[in-house]
């Protein structure tokens, strides 16, 4: 299970700049589809990467699906050299993304996000409209069902 409160509280404790995207963002907007991880887009500044690394370190991040014993070190240098990381952590699966297809990085997305209070934490979440825009731009067949649901949510909201 994804422990959303633990993840968001860890990121908040270290003042990490991030935006919730993907399935969890869709859920926050009203989607009913099952998603098994938390996807975040983090700001790729040196300071923020240092905070991100420190925030997740207690939760033992490791590359998801990688064989045990792989020489993976969760540190600022690793994050700086990489971009997107699919992690298994003690509090659940977490995708730490420098960029997303169709949306770009944190700086491109932040003005298209909204602040939500979740589990006592103020966190930025990509807006419903922008989730749709990003998923459409990504153009992945696997997103079609999710896109249909997101657009249906937008229609239902307009009718409220």
């Amino acid at each position: 299970m994804t422990d959303f409160p633990a993840m968001l509280q860890a990121l908040d404790e270290y003042h990490v700049e991030y935006i919730v995207v993907g399935g969890a963002a869709a859920t926050a907007h009203g989607a009913a589809r099952l998603t098994l991880d938390l996807d975040i887009v983090y700001r790729r500044t040196r300071e923020n990467i240092t905070r991100l690394v420190a925030s997740l370190a207690p939760h033992q991040p490791y590359l998801r699906g990688a064989p045990p014993g792989l020489p993976f070190r969760w540190d600022a240098e690793t994050v700086q050299r990489g971009l997107n990381f699919t992690l298994a952590t003690a509090v659940g699966p977490l995708d730490v993304l420098g960029e997303i297809t169709g949306g770009g990085g944190y700086d491109a997305l932040v003005s298209r996000s909204q602040t939500l209070t979740l589990f006592g934490v103020a966190c930025r979440c990509l807006s419903l409209e922008q989730l749709i825009v990003v998923k459409r731009a990504a153009g992945r067949p696997k997103d079609l069902e999710a896109l249909a649901e997101l657009e249906a949510i937008a229609e239902e909201r307009r009718n409220l």
Binding site: M1, T2, D3, F4, A24, T27, A28, H29, G30, A31, A32, L34, T35, L36, Q114, T115, L116, T117, L118, F119, C125, S127, L128, E129, Q130, I132, V133, R136, L144, E145, L147, A148, E149, E151, A152, I153, A154, E156, R157, R158, L160
Partner: protein, 67 residues
């Protein structure tokens, strides 16, 4: 509008995509309407319960395959 949702944008001005429109016919809007009565946090708590249930089902399946 559900509690805590007042800042959500719904100003979608994209052209309808015929493929997405076709998929939309199968969306269960009753689930969406129920979700829209909840706060974003309540929706995430509900998702965690669903994940827990999915894990139980997977574990049950594994036990059955092992005999």
């Amino acid at each position: 509008m559900a509690r805590g949702d007042s800042r959500f944008d719904v100003d979608i001005s994209l052209e309808p995509d015929p493929v997405i429109e076709a998929y939309k016919k199968d969306v269960d809007r009753t689930l969406i309407r129920e979700n829209l009565k909840l706060t974003p946090e309540q929706r995430l708590r509900q998702l965690m319960k669903l994940q827990e249930f999915a894990e139980e089902l997977q574990a049950g399946g594994r036990r059955t395959r092992r005999g």
